[in-house]
């Protein structure tokens, strides 16, 4: 079952699917409508956070539930908590709400509509690792930060939290939400990824062991602590349990955030009729799938990974048939190149060259060397950075070259399915030009 709601700044009716809550959905979103949930409503539905009174008690529960991170990497949550709890004294817990992916809105929506679930999760995670240093990392969206502060004030008045939560600003960069970039920024520096080792759970914010979790992951954690692992597993599949939030971009331009079970068929989420040529799964570090293949796939890494794609943070885009896929990919490639932190030679040298080659291929009668150049550079760039920015970008671009290969042939003949090359994929206009743009 799928339940939907809208991006907070759009004043449209929430879309609710019919249903009897067989898997207990919606879980993170309100049952009816997209009205932001205040503390009273939250307590009526869920009660207070079930503090166990002892560090570590929550970890086996999370292991049984099989909760994985919802920030894109799908790392098992219990392992991260255990690593931080083991790593040493005075751990830090940060909720990661810096949604740098332009195609994803689900974290902003969750923070707007259900902040108390996220804040509950933060407190419970902090208790589980024995931390009293808790923070929330958010982009500089004044209305959203205002909303979070109001929610925190409600909780302070009701005495629901045991640790105060500090809000930290994230710059509007694609990489700002990367774990080590977050640790660097919260420590007072620039939001640039750092070389690992040491891992963030060993030495993160100001050198202390740091637990970083996506805000949606924390919301699921807050519910598992209340309702248990078996309840969590009522949704999803055996290997990939639970529900998740997805950002859906339909071919007609509609953009929605929905909560759905893992394992849901993609065709239940995106309208995949003859007007759609391809589907992007996993955002701008994800991969393209031809529409016919996507129509047979489900929202699970078990299905998507063998096809070269992945679930990621649930950003799904249906590309209309009357758009040029190569031009879209070229624009994204340029964006990804400009979002490089500039620290690793292969990344800041290779990604711009790849983007330039993509622009060449997107033009009529491109130089035939552009494709071979790009493949050559793609091979040199992978696995050579401090973070996975080059790897994810190469995955996106390689899949575009494969899925839109017929388009490339057309360009070679001087034709294009969309001679105007109108943009479809969302991309910010601002470019990082100085150190200030990384803080």
């Amino acid at each position: 079952m799928t339940y939907g709601t809208t991006v907070p700044h759009q004043a449209r009716q929430a879309q609710t699917a019919g249903g009897d809550g067989d898997a207990g959905l919606p879980r993170l979103l309100p049952v009816h409508g997209a009205v932001p949930v205040d503390l009273r409503t939250h307590r009526q539905r869920f009660g207070d956070p079930p503090y166990s009174g002892q560090a570590g008690r929550l970890i086996p529960v999370l292991k049984a539930a099989g909760l994985t991170g919802r920030g894109g990497a799908a790392f098992p949550v219990h392992r991260k908590l255990a690593a931080v709890a083991r790593a040493g004294t005075k751990p830090v817990v940060i909720g990661n709400g810096a949604e740098g992916e332009p195609a994803s809105d689900k974290d902003k929506s969750l923070l707007w509509i259900s902040p108390h679930l996220v804040l509950d999760g933060l407190q419970l995670a902090a208790e589980a690792v024995g931390s009293t240093a808790v923070g929330l990392y958010l982009h500089r969206n004044p209305r959203l930060q205002e909303r979070l502060r109001a929610a925190m004030a409600e909780r302070a008045a009701a005495g629901v939290d045991f640790a105060g939560v500090e809000i930290f600003d994230a710059p509007p960069r694609f990489l700002a939400g990367e774990e080590s970039a977050l640790a660097s920024r919260v420590s007072g520096g620039l939001a640039r990824p750092r070389f690992k080792p040491p891992m963030v759970f060993e030495r993160g914010v100001v050198g202390r062991p740091t637990l970083v979790h996506n805000v949606e992951t924390l919301a699921h954690l807050a519910l598992i602590a209340r309702f248990g692992p078996r309840w969590f597993r009522l949704a999803g599949t055996a290997d990939e349990p639970g529900s998740m939030l997805c950002t859906l971009h339909q071919a007609d331009g509609r953009r929605d955030v929905v909560e759905t079970e893992l394992g849901t068929p993609l065709r239940s989420l995106l309208t995949l009729d003859g007007h759609v040529q391809a589907v992007l799964s996993g955002g701008y570090h994800g991969a393209w799938l031809p529409a016919a293949d996507a129509a047979r796939m489900t929202l699970s890494n078990g299905h998507l990974e063998p096809a070269g794609a992945f679930v990621g943070a649930g950003a799904l885009v249906a590309l209309p048939a009357d758009r040029c896929g190569i031009a879209e990919a070229a624009r994204v490639a340029r964006y990804l190149a400009l979002e490089s932190a500039g620290q690793c030679g292969p990344c800041f040298n290779g990604l711009p060259r790849i983007a330039a080659a993509m622009y060449e291929i997107a033009s009529p009668r491109p130089d035939p060397r552009a494709v071979t150049d790009m493949i050559h550079w793609a091979g040199l760039v992978e696995g050579r950075g401090a973070c996975h920015h080059p790897d994810g970008s190469v995955r996106f671009i390689r899949s575009a070259l494969h899925v839109f290969r017929d388009e490339i042939t057309l360009h070679g003949q001087g034709r294009c399915v969309d001679p105007d090359r109108r943009p479809f994929l969302p991309l910010p206009r601002d470019v990082a030009l100085s150190a200030a743009d990384w803080s």
Binding site: R203, E339, Y359
Partner: protein, 212 residues
């Protein structure tokens, strides 16, 4: 006069491998500066600079090993096995051989930390790698003082050449550092260099001089 008039094969081997070691270490140091500046060797692919730097350093260790072992085995002067790594503990020329031992210790530290690069923090690796200059400098000092070989003839020119090369590389590195493109602008600067025009970021006028 060093007082050594009896030539043995071991003694020649030690001196010869010593000279080669100095040359290799000089080459490794120069390549290290080139790696740091992300420069290229003409005609070779981009990764060749790093690859050569690493491979030559391992070759240098091999030659240093032969140099050290032959010197110790040579019966004419007493050096002692421990003097290889413990500075100033050799009965023969304790000071200058001690400088050599320092150089060897540093080279071993550089090699071992580089092999373990995935396991130590980058900051630690980088801090230790600065010792490379000290390793090279002490190797040169040891070469000039442990025997009179480098005081005349071709070997003198060689020694001077090594010193001038490394000094020049260091000066070049310091001068170049002032002209670096700031880290945040590197990717945009690379894009600037590329055609077509539409891919360039807005608000930029032309290519930058250096991408570094």
């Amino acid at each position: 006069m060093s007082g050594i008039t009896h030539s043995t094969a071991l003694w020649y081997a030690s001196r010869a491998t010593g000279v080669v070691s100095l040359l290799l270490l000089t080459g490794v140091t120069l390549l290290g500066v080139l790696v740091n500046r992300q420069g290229r060797l003409p005609g070779l692919p981009r990764f060749a600079v790093t690859g050569l730097h690493r491979n030559l350093s391992l070759l240098a260790v091999a030659f240093v090993a032969v140099h050290v072992v032959t010197a110790v085995l040579d019966p004419y002067v007493t050096i002692g096995l421990t003097a290889i790594v413990i500075p100033f503990s050799s009965p023969y020329k304790p000071l200058w051989l001690g400088v050599g031992a320092i150089s060897l210790d540093l080279v071993l530290a550089l090699i071992l930390t580089s092999l373990a690069r995935g396991r130590i923090s980058r900051r630690l690796w980088r801090a230790l790698h600065w010792l490379a200059y000290l390793a090279w400098g002490s190797a040169l000092l040891h070469s000039l003082t442990s025997s009179t070989d480098l005081h005349s003839g071709v070997l003198l020119y060689l020694a001077v050449g090594c010193a001038v090369a490394v000094a020049g590389a260091v000066i070049w590195r310091i001068a170049q550092a002032g002209r670096d493109v700031p880290v945040e602008e590197r990717a945009a600067a690379t894009l600037d260099m590329m055609a077509p025009r539409s891919v360039r970021p807005p608000g930029r006028r032309g290519p930058r001089e250096h991408i570094r």
